[in-house]
Symmetry: C2
Subunit: 380 residues, 2 copies
């Protein structure tokens, strides 16, 4: 096992009716900015629950944090928060709202353009942040990461700052989600786990088992959720899996990959695709392109997650990759670039961008622009 330094201070308040506890979770004397996405929380009752729980607290609302939150939008929130002397942020929404609010939280205490913080990748000072999660997917509710886009330049990068002080997870908030958002959330969670798991075997038996535990849970619940998206226990399992998939709990002392995410971010930046949808396309390509490097772990994954015990090693690896792609397809997601109308031009542009930035991703640090292009050509 590798040495590691773990800490996750976020308080999780989980279960039906939990939004009513906001009053005890937000300190009484704070000037709160509530942040929202496009307005679905007004239709599904979450907004009313939040307002009721906050009672007469001093609040200001910022609406319109979009999917793949942009610095252009977030700058406006920072300006509003400064005017209002905001000293507590409450993000109500999915991963995009929470991610965006993390940059607001840092931007409020930074003298300069928030995009500078994104390029720097981190922030020293932040305003405390709580969340009410409405879409299980990104894990942002219990980690210190965010991904921020800049439309002006078609860029999208990760940024690390503060953990939410609390996150409220009420599975009932998911009952009104469109099926495609649920599908993308399941794919996002699945790939988050794979990015931390599908590297080399034998580094930590326990972390391997826990990653496999989340994958097996997702595989078990996904078809049932498709049948019955109003089943509380299924959605609770999904919501908890999404949070546990990217809060550091399965990353202790193990190498990580994140190749697929880096390529997926480029597809979103260039074509506006939903994050989870990009992962469903790229991930099978990553496995096909890097099957030799990931050979041992693919065999373990095939055996433990997909119960494969028969056939040659080559056959089992083939089937493990096929099963992964089939899982994404069973969610109703596309798994090939062509289905999203993306061609060779984009492959070359992403190769160029990686080369220009001089980056190399993956557990082996060997995914340069050339390898990224090879992965994308395996997604055609």
């Amino acid at each position: 096992m590798n040495n590691f330094d773990f800490r996750n201070p976020t308080r999780l308040v989980f279960g039906k009716g939990s939004i009513a506890r906001l009053g005890e979770l937000v300190p009484a004397d704070r000037r709160i900015m509530l942040t929202f996405g496009g307005g679905s929380v007004k239709q599904n009752g979450v907004y009313d629950q939040v307002r009721k729980a906050l009672g007469e607290r001093a609040t200001v609302e910022f609406w319109g944090i979009e999917p793949n939150p942009s610095v252009e939008t977030l700058r406006k929130a920072v300006t509003l928060g400064r005017e209002q002397q905001t000293d507590f942020l409450l993000a109500v929404g999915g991963g995009s709202v929470i991610d965006g609010t993390k940059l607001i939280s840092a931007g409020l205490l930074y003298n300069g353009d928030p995009w500078e913080l994104v390029l720097k990748g981190t922030a020293d000072k932040t305003v405390p942040l709580g969340t009410v999660l409405t879409l299980p997917a990104t894990g942002s509710e219990m980690n210190n990461g965010a991904v921020i886009s800049r439309h002006e330049t078609q860029e999208k990068y990760p940024f690390f700052s503060n953990y939410p002080v609390f996150s409220i997870l009420d599975p009932e908030t998911t009952f009104t989600l469109p099926p495609r958002q649920i599908a993308c959330g399941l794919a996002d969670t699945f790939v988050h786990v794979m990015e931390q798991y599908m590297t080399v075997p034998g580094v930590s038996r326990l972390m391997d088992r826990w990653a496999e535990g989340i994958l097996s849970t997702l595989i078990e619940i996904a078809p049932r959720i498709r049948e019955d998206g109003l089943n509380y226990d299924l959605m609770a399992d999904f919501m908890l899996s999404a949070t546990m998939g990217l809060n550091g709990f399965i990353a202790m002392g193990v190498p990580e990959d994140w190749t697929t995410h880096m390529i997926g971010h480029e597809l979103t930046a260039l074509h506006g695709l939903t994050h989870g949808a990009t992962l469903a396309i790229v991930y099978p390509g990553t496995l096909r392109a890097l099957r030799e490097q990931k050979r041992e772990k693919l065999l373990q994954y095939g055996q433990r997650v997909w119960n494969m015990t028969k056939g040659t090693e080559k056959e089992r690896i083939d089937r493990a990759i096929e099963k992964t792609e089939e899982f994404f397809r069973s969610l109703g997601l596309a798994t090939r670039l062509g289905e999203a109308g993306i061609g060779e031009e984009t492959v070359r542009e992403i190769e160029r961008r990686f080369e220009e930035r001089g980056v190399a991703f993956g557990e082996g640090g060997n995914v340069t622009g050339k390898t990224a292009a090879a992965i994308l050509r395996n997604c055609r």
Copy 2:
């Protein structure tokens, strides 16, 4: 899934060489009390590493926190800490040293006898506490629990107060542990997980998988550790499993049992048995006595942890219980009361104590004195 409220703020600093980081982890201006057990840390080099890392810091040392730490000993530490105006505690040792230091941490800020806090079960105010763990077993390094004994009255009760602000886990510190301590630590970890898992199925798919993941890891590493207790990766897996077994990570939204622990504490209080050794004796008896109540979960456990797929349900449950007892025996531990020289008198005394306190343990709240006696008669 049940509603839950989770938070675990402890920072884990894990890996070889980590003790050297103490200097950055303990705030520079604190008056530190170091707490120790019987002195093994002087033989294995841990003491020297701690002193070197702390350099010229203001410290006082308290030695002699015994296995099953007693309020009689801890009162002395509280007196010393008050004299020295201690405002930071550093526990260096196993679960007993850490547990005891939690009571010191609360006792320093309490006007009264620390045993009152134990009877109350909790404390409002505590002095910050860091730990250097040397024996994986209790999980105390990453939870807010402690178990404190009182020799004067042969009592032993759990007590809940503060999470360590940090815990340093260096698997190399385990290389000098006596085999019996390792065996008891493995048994303790195994039963911690079972107390949170072996209740009813279907409450949380993910928590079930994670509990099974720890159990499978322990079953895989235990015989290998017996062969090679100097294997870093094995001891790292053990150390991480012990911490993850009782830090709340597998308890989210699921019912818990703790019957075996409550009975085991009585055996320690009455006969001085090591905690892990009491669990190895009582746990198979708990399963035999409550096999109907735990029927569904025993079948799941047999299948997923012990790979049992054949035979009638009765046969599979029989084998799952046998396998559990065999696991403890493979560690070299006794699994019957008679082997520890404990007879019917103790059974009746524990029944009397439970009835007198009017308690009822277990996920069903049905383990009264009578059931405890039935469990113990299943351990003969």
